[in-house]
């Protein structure tokens, strides 16, 4: 079967070379993202080691149930994303669009819940730098915890929003039939990104929500 030339960018010799280049390119990008979030996790690790009691107390101000539900939502969205990649490779146009839409929906609910949570913190004066209040002697260290909480979940939510935007574009392209094989590679690449954002949350959930829950 002759390869459709319009699917192949000029600088590549064949589609397999192009696919591998895109895949490796995304993985290299994700390696940079690991360090980007990693710098935050490094800071988190230092302060958690230094101020364990205060951070445990501050962590109890987050809702574990909320966090767990959000985790479940995001894991499910990774599943629908994996299914989208699966259908993209098979060339199922409608099923691809459906899976992408489900992924967007789950992701959007996640971001919505995140905003609700932030709003609660705002009302309880738990936003650092904006009239932060915390009962007990460790307000200073608790503010540090919440600074990291907002930085980590904020950068994560930003990545979610970018991901939702990318998936929305892909849904449109899928409906127009522009992602039929061999032009399905963008779905693969977007999938890698989405799963990565999921993995970040897999770590954020225990780091932020599950510190020292057994002590009342």
């Amino acid at each position: 079967m002759p390869e459709p030339t319009h699917a192949l960018a000029e600088q590549f010799d064949d589609l397999e070379q192009q696919r591998q280049a895109s895949t490796i390119g995304m993985w290299v990008f994700l390696a940079t993202e690991v360090i980007f979030f990693g710098a935050l996790i490094t800071g988190y690790t230092e302060y958690r080691a230094s101020y364990y009691q205060a951070w445990a107390a501050a962590s109890k101000h987050l809702s574990v149930v909320f966090g767990a539900i959000m985790t479940i939502l995001l894991l499910s969205s990774s599943f629908t994303m994996a299914m989208a990649v699966h259908f993209a490779r098979l060339g199922g146009r409608k099923r691809l669009a459906l899976c992408l839409l489900l992924t967007i929906l789950l992701g959007a609910v996640f971001v919505g819940m995140k905003f609700m949570e932030w709003h609660d913190h705002y009302q309880r004066h738990e936003v650092p730098g904006m009239g932060f209040e915390f009962p007990g002697p460790n307000a200073r260290e608790a503010q540090l915890f919440f600074s990291f909480y907002f930085a980590m979940t904020g950068f994560h939510a930003l990545h979610m929003i970018v991901g939702i935007g990318i998936l929305a574009v892909l849904t449109g392209l899928a409906l127009l039939g522009r992602l039929a094989p061999p032009r399905h590679v963008p779905v693969d690449i977007a999938g890698l990104y989405w799963h990565f954002v999921d993995i970040v949350w897999i770590f954020l959930f225990p780091l932020l929500y599950l510190v020292d829950l057994h002590h009342k």
């Binding site: 960018a9 000029e10 600088q11 590549f12 010799d13 070379q17 591998q20 280049a21 490796i24 390119g25 290299v28 990008f29 390696a31 940079t32 993202e33 360090i35 980007f36 979030f37 990693g38 710098a39 935050l40 490094t42 800071g43 230092e46 302060y47 230094s50 101020y51 650092p128 730098g129 904006m130 200073r140 260290e141 503010q143 540090l144 600074s147 990291f148 930085a151």
Partner: protein, 542 residues
């Protein structure tokens, strides 16, 4: 491949420079060669802006008293000199200009793997540069290029936020360039061009790219946190609020120490191309030179704490960092020994690029060995934050990297522009730069060892003689840098047309016409030879 024919000069064949015209065809180009030229122009601009700040610093230091600038202005001058030179010249210079131009040509490809991302990364660089220049014009920054907290995050009243945003944005340009090179070198090599047939320039560009993608995000996050702290006063790095200023230094140096290898590794790659060509010999110990680049890239990430010996870091961590720092000297020395061994019994000739390469080897060696002095835990306490440190890193950055960059520009100028420049002028400029450089920075080793601290606009009168030498040297250096600008510009119009391979060098880039057509190679070349097969060539026709 061995026979050399001079192309007919009568009519100009279609090449990447005359393939299309108009501003649009340049600003929206996705041709890696044109993007390289966009970078060349922008980077040259930043180099001279940074250079003006350097000259102002040297002018102030002509006399021991602060009679030209106030302390505050002086703080801004050295900060902006550092920021512009490091983030907008040294880091992008070789990768973004020569790397962009040469990577596809050297591997026999039509372009980089992601040409659009390549253009995007240029514009990200331009936007970051705009923020930075805004900060400079609005009144500047006085934190030093290292942005140490809590001064930068809490106390400084200068335009830190705009500057930090500028550097943050520029970081993504670096990341995307590195990503593009890594994928391209992995996936786009011509058939037959195995890893061990690659020019060593590509090994060093590859190692550089690794540092770019794995280091840059760390400083980006550190600077983002500084910006957040300035906006919200939350004290992530402020000890008054429970923060740890050393955490900032860790995150900053996790990138910024490896970043000095982003600056020097591509220079080493250039020297590894020039030395075999002008010795007419295969490089000595190819695989050692290749792997030493990777070793520097990896080891370079494990030594950052040597910037923090006196900052309050744990002495035990200091011992680890000191020991690891010594290890980096090994791959660096391997390279110097291999270049020297390549020269041995070669038919050495001294064209302009070779003068720069030889200058690099000598000055880099001095800079590297004085680095060992600074990596020594006890000795560093004596010379920390003195002009000894300034001299050390300028021997690496200016004596090493800028020499190599100019060597590379002179080596590939005929390929880039299709024109030859007057070699006598080139050699004259190289000599002036070498003399001016040493006169500027060697006295700083002495004055630093005697105890003159960095970052002060006044100093005790007994240091004046050495400072006068240094300022005189800086003026000579300034002239030296202006000369290439003039005669290279001149050559664009009046220089003789260059044949495809004016140096009779090996490497795929010399098989394409000068300047190359947009597609680089009409047919993908098939590589059936090893790198640097200079001994197998016929004696060049005079």
């Amino acid at each position: 491949m061995s026979s050399k024919t001079v192309e007919p000069v009568s009519e100009t064949p279609v090449n990447y420079l005359n393939a299309s015209f108009g501003l649009r065809s340049w600003l929206l180009t996705i041709d890696h060669k044109r993007i390289a030229l966009l970078y060349l122009v922008t980077i040259t601009l930043f180099f001279f802006v940074g250079g003006v700040f350097a000259l102002l610093i040297r002018l102030e230091l002509l006399t021991p008293r602060g009679d030209l600038f106030t302390a505050e202005t002086y703080n801004k001058l050295f900060t902006m000199h550092g920021l512009i030179m490091i983030f907008f010249f040294l880091i992008p210079a070789v990768p973004a200009v020569l790397g962009n131009f040469l990577v596809p040509l050297m591997i026999g490809a039509r372009d980089l793997a992601f040409p659009r991302i390549n253009l995007l990364s240029y514009y990200i660089y331009a936007v970051g540069g705009t923020f930075t220049m805004y900060s400079v014009v609005a009144g500047g920054v006085d934190t030093g290029w290292t942005f140490y907290t809590p001064y930068s995050s809490t106390y400084s009243n200068t335009h830190v936020t705009a500057m930090v945003i500028g550097i943050f944005i520029t970081g993504f340009s670096s990341i995307l360039t590195g990503l593009n090179f890594i994928v391209t070198i992995h996936k786009m090599r011509a058939p037959g061009l195995t890893w061990f047939r690659l020019p060593l320039f590509l090994w060093s560009i590859y190692a550089t790219s690794i540092i770019m993608i794995l280091g840059t995000p760390s400083v980006a996050m550190a600077l983002a946190l500084v910006a957040m702290e300035r906006l919200l006063h939350i004290g992530i790095f402020d000890p008054r609020l429970g923060g740890d200023p050393l955490l900032f230094q860790h995150l900053f140096w996790f990138y910024s120490h490896p970043a000095v290898y982003i600056m020097i590794l591509p220079g080493m790659g250039i020297v590894s191309e020039i030395v075999p060509c002008f010795s007419r010999k295969r490089i000595f110990g190819y695989s050692f030179v290749a792997f030493s680049s990777l070793a520097i890239a990896v080891l370079g990430f494990l030594v950052w704490g040597h910037h923090m010996f006196v900052a309050g870091q744990s002495i035990y961590a200091g011992i680890i960092f000191s020991a690891l720092s010594f290890l980096v000297a090994i791959p660096s020395a391997v390279k110097v020994f291999n270049w020297t061994a390549t020269l041995y019994k070669g038919s050495v000739s001294f064209a302009t690029p070779m003068l720069y390469a030889l200058g690099f080897i000598g000055l880099f060696t001095i800079g590297g060995l004085t680095g060992l002095v600074l990596a020594t835990l006890g000795l560093d306490i004596h010379v920390h934050d003195t002009y000894f440190v300034i001299a050390h890193f300028h021997y690496i950055m200016v004596g090493g990297m800028v020499m190599a960059y100019l060597g590379g520009i002179h080596f590939w100028w005929p390929k880039i522009t299709g024109r030859l420049y007057p070699d006598s002028w080139g050699r004259l400029a190289a000599a002036i730069i070498f003399i001016g450089f040493n006169l500027t920075f060697f006295p700083q080793f002495i004055v630093g060892y005697l105890g003159m601290p960095r970052r002060y606009h006044v100093y005790p009168p007994e240091f004046q003689v050495l400072n006068v030498f240094s300022t005189a040297g800086a003026s000579i250096l300034g002239v030296g840098y202006l000369l290439p600008l003039l005669y290279l510009f001149w050559s664009l119009k009046y220089g003789a047309k260059s044949p495809a391979n004016p140096w009779d060098a090996t490497g795929l880039e010399w098989m394409a016409p000068s300047p190359p057509p947009t597609q680089n190679f009409p047919v993908t070349p098939l590589v059936a030879w090893e790198a640097y097969e200079y001994e197998k060539r016929e004696v060049p026709v005079a």
